[in-house]
């Protein structure tokens, strides 16, 4: 079961994950949306962030209206954006504006007013803020959820052709209570309502966390995994504080296709940024029908194991058993009889006793010294292959971020080198793999390492020389690896990135 490896990946989190790069300060971010190859996120107060690659962000997104917690969707040739204003909460209004583009430098950039689509009158059990818009992929209907801690999260139907209410006086449906920043997604026959619980706006003292319930119907009821209705405060934890970040809130889905899904959120406080509220993008995993927050890959040394073959990526060099060779002898490989002090084979004995093929060599066998075992490795490019993992030096890979080389949603590009050396994994111009003697930073030596929805990983070079194809590390046969087009249905391009 792939998810047993998730624990191993979690255990491998020996160093900090990377926050996004650039100007990432934002509060209550919208769903991240793409427009003409760029990523946009809008936030409370107006404006927002733009990124070319989803890793490095800059201020520059523009919208009118101010207000709080916008959300945005692209339908047809329009981008509909919803945000809330209030002069006297819990009286509030959700406004809609639309545009043909989100690029403020485009000649087509012009926000059009769409009017108020939902309200709370200050008396009813709702505070009409934190709108989120959802296009049902099954029915094509458009829905708006909204609400905050005063009363209920509510659902109303919108017209996908106009972004406005289908029936303006239609009674909203109450779907959750005592939460805010709701968002709805669809997956495999279920509608999921994600909402933020806990206290907001207190920096490092914020208890913000994101919870989820699901329903077979878009109108609910939304129950958590223990059957508690979100109308009664139910909700399975999706993500909470951890590491160097406090108070995740405002879930947004970023679907990159090919089964790769991510989510965006903000943290109330990024401890490495003075407690500022910042944007983040992380993998979205699915387990037993429930979404889970994944982690972006972290710097460290790992085994890279093929899910398909169960064998590990390694340099195609003569391996040396850890602790030294055992004597030659019976069929079975590298000798089955230990070599005694005098150099002769030692006869069999009881396990744990002195001598004998099962008794070990006494004491702790240290990790291989790569400087020593690599003395016999050729000084030129070395091929790659897959082999049984035996904790040997040529099978351990260090994954490290590369500064100023760009990235992809959630992460920078990484170099993958044999631990303790500069030998770097690279793509060749015939879409094969090689380990070059030293990392130079060339695009074919930069790697995109993304967690897939089942917790395994996809590993792709930034570029393949002389090719425009987007390829991924792939097992071929049982013992070799290559680069191939990513097939979300196949195990061949799935990898476990494990503690070594």
């Amino acid at each position: 079961m792939r998810f047993r490896y998730l624990a191993a990946i979690v255990l491998a989190l020996v160093s900090a994950a990377f926050a996004l790069d650039g100007q990432i300060g934002i509060h209550d971010p919208s769903t991240i949306i793409q427009c003409d190859g760029k990523y946009y996120a809008f936030g409370t107060g107006g404006g927002g962030l733009i990124s070319n690659d989803g890793w490095t962000w800059n201020r520059g997104a523009s919208r009118p209206g101010g207000g709080v917690a916008p959300d945005v969707i692209h339908i047809g040739d329009r981008y509909y954006l919803y945000y809330a204003t209030s002069s006297r909460q819990p009286q509030a209004d959700v406004h809609m504006i639309w545009n043909k583009t989100l690029d403020p430098n485009s000649s087509n950039f012009k926000w059009e007013e769409g009017g108020i689509v939902a309200s709370s009158d200050g008396v009813e059990d709702c505070n009409a803020i934190d709108p989120a818009v959802f296009l049902d992929p099954i029915t094509g209907k458009l829905w708006l959820t909204y609400g905050s801690y005063f009363g209920y999260i509510r659902l109303v139907q919108l017209d996908p052709k106009t972004g406005k209410r289908v029936i303006p006086i239609d009674k909203p449906v109450d779907i959750a209570i005592n939460c805010e920043a709701s968002d709805m997604i669809y997956h495999d026959g279920w509608y999921y309502l994600l909402a933020t619980h806990g206290s907001c706006c207190r920096g490092t003292d914020s208890g913000y966390n994101i919870r989820v319930g699901r329903s077979r119907r878009v109108t609910g009821p939304f129950l958590d995994n223990m059957g508690i209705d979100m109308i009664k405060g139910g909700g399975k934890l999706f993500v909470g504080s951890g590491g160097r970040v406090v108070g995740p809130g405002h879930f947004g889905l970023l679907d990159l296709g090919d089964g790769v899904q991510k989510f965006s959120c903000h943290y109330e406080a990024d401890l490495d940024r003075g407690g500022a509220s910042v944007l983040d993008i992380r993998p979205l995993l699915w387990k037993d029908g429930w979404p889970m927050a994944g982690e972006n890959v972290r710097e460290g040394t790992y085994e890279i194991e093929s899910v398909r073959t169960g064998t590990a990526l390694e340099l195609a060099v003569q391996g040396v058993p850890v602790g030294g060779s055992r004597g030659g002898g019976a069929a079975g490989g590298r000798g089955s009889m230990p070599i005694g002090p005098g150099g002769g084979a030692v006869g069999g004995g009881a396990p744990g006793g002195r001598g004998g093929m099962f008794s070990g060599v006494g004491g702790v066998i240290p990790p291989q010294d790569v400087a020593q075992v690599s003395q016999n490795w050729p000084l030129v490019n070395i091929d790659l292959r897959l082999s049984n993992y035996m904790v040997q030096a040529q099978q351990k890979w260090t994954i490290a971020p590369v500064a100023n080389a760009g990235g992809y949603p959630g992460s920078p590009y990484f170099k993958i080198t044999i631990a303790g050396t500069d030998r770097a994994l690279a793509a060749t111009d015939d879409a094969e793999l090689v380990a070059v003697p030293a990392f130079t930073g060339a695009p074919e030596q930069l790697w995109r390492i993304e967690q897939l929805s089942d917790g395994t990983w996809r590993i792709m070079p930034k570029a393949v020389p002389n090719s425009k194809e987007s390829l991924a590390l792939s097992a071929v046969g049982s013992s070799f690896a290559t680069l191939a087009k990513f097939d979300p249905k196949s195990d061949r391009q799935r990898w476990n990135v494990k503690m070594p």
Binding site: H27, V68, H197, C200, G234
Partner: protein, 242 residues
């Protein structure tokens, strides 16, 4: 809720235009404050002698005291120590032991406050609406609530399961059984007590809920040894004599 909302609510106090309906069939029938605005959503005066819990075991009949103003800057203060100290200040004589009746009055810091018998039609008691209906403060307040449950048999090994916005402390028959602290929102079964016993006959459930700005709210039920709701009781507020 975010800071901007919190500040606005603090400044505005009660916005909801609600009031209790005047009808009462219990006890001496304390006066309710009528306003020109409509009734509190989901809250009514009891119209029957006794009331069973709802289908999920939630207690739906309570005596609630009009809110006591307290000194608090924000819900960030609601740690264990602050809540314990604030709630356990003596505001009126017998606040842990007296069984109030509908219409009874107490004096707190020179202000007369009244106990109101209320039924909720949902699983929780929205104290914000309760206060609004009476034109009372809705933030920086402490609510006391009491109910009298009548069990047909002794029940051992049950637990009191509560939720509140924000912090609260609960007593069963005079013994403190659970406190939940911090700036929390009400969810069902948020705090669950250790196992306790309910006597055959009358048992007193008492709570104090404390909040800064926001929607004060509470809910309570009992869970049996299999974590299923206990429903073998009724609430009869008139049962205990003055």
């Amino acid at each position: 809720m975010r800071t901007i909302h919190r500040h606005l609510l603090s400044a505005l106090g009660c916005l909801a235009g609600v009031a209790f309906m005047a009808a009462s069939q219990l006890g001496s029938g304390g006066d309710s404050v009528n306003s020109a605005r409509g009734p509190a959503p989901n809250l009514t005066r009891p119209a029957s002698a006794e009331k069973a819990p709802d289908a999920d075991g939630f207690i739906q009949r309570w005596l609630v005291l009009e809110p006591i103003p307290i000194q608090i800057r924000s819900n960030a203060q609601l740690n264990d120590g602050f809540v314990q100290t604030t709630i356990k200040t003596e505001y009126f004589p017998g606040q842990y032991t007296a069984i109030p009746h509908d219409g009874d009055r107490v004096t707190v810091n020179g202000n007369e406050l009244m106990w109101h018998a209320i039924d909720t039609s949902v699983y929780h008691v929205n104290l914000y609406h309760f206060a609004c209906a009476l034109n009372k403060p809705t933030f920086n307040i402490l609510f006391w609530a009491v109910t009298v449950i009548n069990c047909s048999e002794e029940m051992q090994g049950v637990r009191l399961a509560v939720g509140s916005n924000a912090a609260s402390i609960w007593w069963i028959n005079g013994k403190e059984v659970i406190g939940i602290y911090g700036d929390r929102h009400m969810v069902i079964d948020d705090g669950v007590s250790k196992r306790l016993s309910l006597k055959k006959g009358t048992n007193i459930v008492r709570c104090a809920v404390i909040n800064s700005p926001g929607v004060s709210d509470m809910c309570a039920r009992f869970l049996d040894t299999e974590d299923k709701p206990v429903k073998r009781f009724t609430v009869k507020l008139g049962d205990v004599p003055r």
